[in-house]
């Protein structure tokens, strides 16, 4: 097989794989990944300035990318049910913390990092459901990861556009952040119970 033909086949495969996994990653967040959306909103409702949001979301991204990569290499294998229950509990915990904390605590980034590791395992389970050739693993994984990040940006951007205008208002926590966090917490607890049964 000539080198040009090989290059053409690889390029064609990449051309097929990249959009497919980009879409898979994005749709895993919006609209299929309501649990991840609620987790991101849980992070969002603690923030009343953009750098708090930036820190939390970036830590979450680094953590879930870490376990996504490790799980893809087969270094971590956790049963799906356990991961799903842990994700639900992480949503509930983050939202409950929002009810009692007004600002970013010292332990919150570490907490987000730990929960991000769990969410990465959830992403890995989704990635494994679609078979991919070993030669195309890296572009597929990177596209999937980029799709997830784009989904997160969409969620954060939408929430920012809707709510951030009232960040500086004194009633923001009382009428927006805490009620929304309470609803997220209830949903998280409900999911944890349902998924563990």
């Amino acid at each position: 097989m000539s080198r040009s033909l090989l290059a053409f086949i690889i390029a064609a495969s990449l051309g097929a794989v990249v959009p497919q996994y980009l879409a898979l990653g994005f749709t895993h967040i919006v609209p299929h990944g309501l649990d991840h959306v609620l987790f991101i909103l849980g992070l969002f409702f603690l923030a009343r300035d953009a750098h708090t949001l930036l820190l939390q979301i970036t830590v979450f991204t680094v953590a879930h990318s870490l376990t996504l990569g490790l799980a893809m290499k087969g270094w971590i294998a956790v049963p799906t049910t356990a991961v799903e229950v842990a994700i639900a509990l992480s949503i509930a915990f983050i939202a409950l913390e929002n009810l009692f904390q007004d600002r970013l605590s010292r332990w919150r980034p570490w907490l987000v990092f730990g929960f991000g590791l769990i969410h990465g395992l959830g992403f890995a389970h989704i990635f494994e459901e679609v078979p991919v050739e070993p030669a195309l693993l890296l572009p597929a994984l990177l596209s999937f990861n980029l799709g997830i990040e784009l989904g997160q940006i969409a969620v954060v951007g939408l929430a920012f556009a809707v709510v951030a205008a009232w960040w500086r208002c004194e009633w923001y926590a009382r009428f927006i952040a805490r009620p929304c966090s309470a609803m997220i917490a209830v949903t998280g607890v409900y999911w944890a119970v349902v998924r563990s049964l």
């Binding site: 953009a50 991204t61 893809m72 920012f160 960040w167």
Partner: protein
């Protein structure tokens, strides 16, 4: 000053700048972490049969590929343990510093006690000119 109850604020440009940074970090950090982890795992798996797990982990961490990726991601080299000391351009072997000239810090309204005359009114300077000075030590004999 807190805004009124029904006042709607437009997102400040600073916040929009932070949001732009957030998007940038998301799109860069995720793939960079994934590539670093995959490279680290590949090198470790390759080295395990010859070196054992602990040594393989260590050599993978110190490998130039992983170090380059981490340096690209963070901008800071992680593995400095075996790196040579940084060469000071202003100093050559056996010579004085050429660029470093000591200057008194310019603090307005402050004079050092050595400079101030008042300090010398109570400070007795130990010099041979002092009439009651004891004799100095004998010369050293080689």
């Amino acid at each position: 000053m807190q805004p009124s109850h029904f006042e709607v604020l437009t997102p400040a440009p600073t916040n929009l700048r932070w949001l732009y940074l957030l998007a940038l970090f998301q799109l860069v950090a995720g793939p960079l972490v994934v590539v670093t982890v995959l490279t680290f795992c590949e090198i470790t798996v390759r080295e395990v049969p010859t070196q054992g797990l602990t040594e393989a982990l260590s050599s993978a961490w110190h490998s130039p590929e992983v170090q380059a990726l981490i340096q690209n991601a963070t901008g800071v080299p992680v593995d400095d343990s075996n790196a040579p000391l940084p060469v000071d351009s202003g100093r050559q072997e056996g010579k004085k510093l050429t660029w470093c000239v000591w200057q008194k810090p310019a603090i307005r309204g402050w004079t050092s006690p050595i400079e101030s005359k008042a300090a010398f009114t109570w400070l007795r300077v130990w010099t041979p000119a002092w009439p009651q000075a004891p004799p100095g030590p004998p010369p050293r004999v080689a």
